[in-house]
Symmetry: C2
Subunit: 362 residues, 2 copies
């Protein structure tokens, strides 16, 4: 096995993927279409990605023997989620290499580090303050002086580990919020008054080629993405500015792979970055149905040292997640014109669980 | 396991696929997108479909124990190629069931049976005569009285088992042709003077719903499909007539699944059916890149008792096969706009071997 080459990974090579959920599944299918094999590390038997990849190592993410096996059997390793345990990350960096690399993970695993990083790049975010104790929370609330959101610094996703606070919260409200984040290191963010949310899916190659899809307009409900629509109802200058910011982030990190950058758009068009995700992103699933080259293929191209592809789309569209019982509408979707369905092979339907998505071409 | 139900196959069910080449591979990926699992029977270790399916039974197609295992682990069984050995076919029909069923296989496994079947439906084909001996060959040549093609009745594909004969061939030319088909049961076909070749990809469900894609215009070289383009350069009335014929064939067979019907188009627009393929078809690969619902998904929907999908395409396109050393152009294709690449995961490049295809959206 030879690694860290800048030459294109030959067809037939194996790409290791840490995490076997739907993102890993779609990465595996994109890799197959480019002639690559895949091996997935995930603790869950019959996880979504195991069903469409060549091999599955059924082990915990921090199982060093499993990571060694993954390294031995892969020509390059990537991941579908940013919350890789620290010891696994250290092991992989030291011994195998990882694309995207540690720098991007460090910046995105911790909300405070992420915000500080963005601030250093002079990229606007919602005003924020670090909070590491109940007293600091009370102080931060007075400094921010608007309705606000308390978020754990690490391992939050899909609205978990978050608590909203009104302007001038009571002692009880403060205490409840502090409890709901597990009294762990957090940040308090100003509640940004936005007109809409958008995201940019950007991809950078090892040779610094950068491509980006048109921004998607996203609607969240209960902290979970429900729909992404392209084009977003924003001006060309807002779209250009969002794209410029996303590009500046991957440039600053010398990032390799796909990144999702989420923005708030203020009523006056001003942008603030909400968060960055160093991986393929739910708001980019539409690219598989309406793009020439999907975000999954772009990511595989990047980690395989191939030239990046065409970000053009052949159709405007709306992608909608199928969450929990939403799967009940599948029989109806099957009969509708212009609809592409994509299910994830999850055996059990649970409330809040992403079971699949569909894209309506418009 | 319950079989032969007309109710929709629930997500998480397993579809057995006989044959693990690129067609099986693309069927497996389409099945996954609908939430199904797949198990592939193919004698070749690491065959293309094994790489994207849940399970692979590595055994000969006529291995009864393997077929039993396939039956036991599958909720429905389909296939990617029509030349299933007779004993396997009998075993499956008697014990497990197969979609599409025996009738379609019987009609398409033998060129003489196929032509007779089409003639009974009053569907035009090139004039033909059965040939089962050298003497019959000489007689058939005099009856057809044009340049002609001798084709084995069974197991011919991609131009194999065929020999061309000029008008008034010499004794030596006749002998060479008879040798080249292995002195086996054959048919002699008139060389149909065509302006172009087209095909219709049609799909029929268990509830007799029928959908068809717009005809593709095909170019063959050395008996192998090189390109398929949609729309074909034919009149609307020719397109309608080809579609009507394709539909009449699946209706006559009470067929369930995707069928490819190849036509010759005479300079005056007259149509003759060249051959029918009771499976997903190379000339329908474009549907994966430019269709809302691909031929692979339509076939899975049909065998899973789901409603058939939208045959509309979002883009016009040309699909081109990557055969043998054609893979050398992949680096260039990777940098071109509007091109979607699809490779099949075959380890070894050989002359005449289909390694992948690409579709240029236009």
């Amino acid at each position: 096995m030879e690694r860290n080459q800048s030459s294109p990974l030959p067809p037939g090579s194996t790409i290791g993927i840490i995490g076997g959920g739907q993102l890993g599944r779609m990465l595996a299918m994109a890799a197959a279409r480019l002639g690559y094999k895949t091996i997935v590390l995930d603790p869950a038997k019959d996880c979504p990605a195991s069903q469409t990849s060549n091999h599955h190592i059924e082990a915990a993410y921090d199982d060093v023997e499993a990571l060694k096996m993954l390294g031995k059997r892969s020509d390059v390793i990537t991941y579908e989620f940013e919350n890789i345990p620290a010891n696994a990350l250290y092991f992989l960096e030291e011994n195998i290499g990882l694309k995207p690399d540690r720098l991007a993970l460090e910046k995105s695993q911790d909300r405070l580090v992420e915000k500080d990083f963005l601030s250093q790049l002079k990229i606007a975010t919602a005003p924020y303050h670090p909070v590491s104790s109940f007293d600091e929370l009370a102080n931060a609330v007075s400094l921010i002086d608007t309705p606000s959101i308390l978020k754990t610094r690490r391992f939050g996703y899909d609205g978990k580990g978050q608590a909203r606070l009104p302007l001038n919260p009571s002692e009880d409200e403060l205490a409840a919020a502090w409890t709901s984040v597990g009294e762990s290191e957090s940040i308090l963010e100003s509640f940004f008054i936005f007109q809409r949310e958008i995201s940019v899916i950007v991809c950078r190659s090892a040779t610094a080629q950068i491509v980006a899809y048109d921004p998607a307009e996203n609607v969240h409900r209960g902290g979970i993405l429900r729909t992404s629509e392209v084009p977003a109802a924003i001006t060309a200058s807002t779209a250009n500015e969002a794209t410029r910011i996303a590009i500046s982030i991957v440039e600053a990190l010398e990032y390799v792979g796909v990144m999702g950058v989420e923005f708030f758009v203020a009523p006056n068009g001003d942008l603030a970055v909400n968060e960055i995700a160093p991986r393929v992103h739910n708001s980019g699933h539409w690219t598989e149905a309406a793009g020439i080259v999907s975000q999954f293929e772009q990511h595989i191209r990047a980690v395989a040292n191939l030239p990046l592809g065409d970000c053009a789309r052949h159709s405007d569209c709306v992608m909608e997640n199928l969450i929990g019982d939403d799967v009940d509408i599948i029989p109806s979707l099957l009969t509708q014109k212009g609809v592409r369905i994509h299910l994830y092979g999850k055996a059990e339907t649970r409330p809040g669980r992403k079971m699949g998505h569909f894209t309506r071409l418009t």
